[in-house]
Symmetry: C2
Subunit: 306 residues, 2 copies
């Protein structure tokens, strides 16, 4: 694949940045990749496993001369990083990010970037429940979506280069406005995560059922919630604090709907329950047809049919 | 493995019965397995794939001379089946079931069984989102738990034989009383399923986000909910109608907890959110250590580390 950027700087070296570094290298998408992480321990690890070509001790050093700077820190830390590096960016460089919320990141980062910088906010919809520089892998983005939310005045060439980079790493790229992104993600990601966290918290806390019972019997449904409830606490705290309005809107709809089902259970309305459960099956089929999950029973955690 | 029963009758030929038939055959646990399903179509399919040794056209015929009768129909249908077969059971036979709720099944089935019948209610905590006679596989129960809820006066030999059958199919067996079972399952299975159904329903119904967006971007968390929300609607309707009290109790705790987190989001209480999300990570670790899920990122749906 053709090289797209001469130099790419990754600020923050966790799961996403690590996977980008490996995917960029494997696909020959950049001449050099530099990296910076806040803690000495993470920088050490990144050096030991040669995650990027050069691990720098400051963010300023990492972005020097970079054509593309990717902010891979939790949403709540984006503003401070942008303030630090803003004055040191190469004129004409593109800045993007991988944050799970877009409006708040744009408000925090935008003011620190000069008029000669192209700011193209982004969000790859990919991840696992693991975090840290050693959790990345080159194929994380394959057949996953990356959403870009550039403003109308942004130079198209900058958007197109970034699109080519994500496509080069195997992703599909969509564009939408930041507000719509935040609502779509509140539905497909943020509210599901909050609900999973809540369910796991309730199970942990119920006096009449022990933790060891919850763990032993988790294959009956509960364990499907625990993977996403094991995601990085710092990132998720920031997501909820920065995508407050959309999350609260979807949560409001969720509790309304939950109360309707709860009432049906209390009143013994089997017809309502049956119709509801039939409708939700169709969504699952759509996801499998779109290649966003496997139809293998139980995600392939059980043996093959025999 | 040694044969445990001369003749086993499976009433209802869906995922669980189909898997039992294959596991019993593979491990040589019974001399003959008969089967009955309510619809002609299911019986035809079962005959075509030779799921059991003999597919019968009535439940009465299937249980004739059986040493073990396994009721594999939805919880709401157990009572009617028991009434039909009750007078035709072999004296000294054991009757068990695989229903996801126990108190309601015991109330529905118990009165139809004579004093010479050993009733040992059971519940294998295993399944996939698929249903029907062709969805079964012989390894479904391997390293999964099966909970038996016999009453104190039940003959131990009957409980021990049934335990040996489940162990012969690869399962671990626990005993507890029916009321506790229903509460444990309300936490680990029934409430998680209701919540997953609700979340999928909300996503399907939100006017400002299209179904195709929900499907495209589901890898960001939502899809983990859709597998369990694709489970059999009839069975789940019955589960909620028959385990009403325990489900409503856990749902009450769930909404209480959800409101606390919602309030923290509204008030910007990052510390509460961070602490909560850190605590739930530990439960996930427990599940992996107990062998009830894999630590592979994203359930192995993504490529290996590279």
């Amino acid at each position: 694949m053709a090289q797209i950027y001469e130099r790419v700087a990754l600020i923050g070296l966790g799961l996403i940045a690590g996977s980008m570094a490996l995917a960029i290298r494997r696909n020959g998408l950049a001449g050099e990749v530099t990296g910076y992480a806040r803690t000495e321990a993470t920088r050490e690890t990144a050096r030991r496993i040669a995650l990027v070509d050069r691990v720098c001790d400051t963010a300023v050093e990492a972005v020097k001369g970079a054509d593309l700077v990717v902010l891979c820190v939790p949403p709540g830390a984006m503003g401070a990083v942008a303030r630090d590096i803003g004055p040191h960016l190469k004129p004409g460089a593109t800045v993007t990010d991988v944050g799970s919320v877009k409006q708040a990141v744009i408000s925090a980062v935008g003011p620190h970037l000069g008029p000669e910088i192209h700011f193209v906010p982004g969000h790859p919809l990919a991840g696992t429940e693991h975090s840290g520089p050693e959790s990345g892998f080159a194929t994380l983005f394959v057949n996953r979506w990356c959403i870009l939310t550039p403003e109308a005045h942004t130079e198209r060439a900058a958007v197109e280069n970034l699109t080519a980079l994500w496509q080069g790493m195997g992703a599909n790229v969509d564009e939408m406005d930041a507000e719509h992104h935040d609502l779509v993600l509140a539905v497909t990601s943020h509210t599901p995560h909050l609900i999973a966290y809540t369910m796991v918290g309730v199970a942990d806390d119920l006096r009449r059922v022990t933790d060891s019972e919850v763990i032993k019997y988790s294959a009956s449904g509960f364990r499907d919630f625990t993977r996403i409830a094991a995601s990085d606490p710092t990132m998720w705290r920031d997501v909820f604090l920065t995508n407050k309005d959309a999350t609260l809107e979807v949560l409001g709809r969720f509790t309304e709907e939950l109360f309707a089902l709860q009432r049906a259970i209390r009143q013994g309305d089997g017809e309502l329950l049956f119709d509801y459960f039939t409708r939700t099956r169709a969504i699952r089929r759509g996801i499998i047809e779109a290649g966003q999950d496997t139809a293998a029973p139980d995600f392939g955690r059980v043996g093959p049919k025999s």
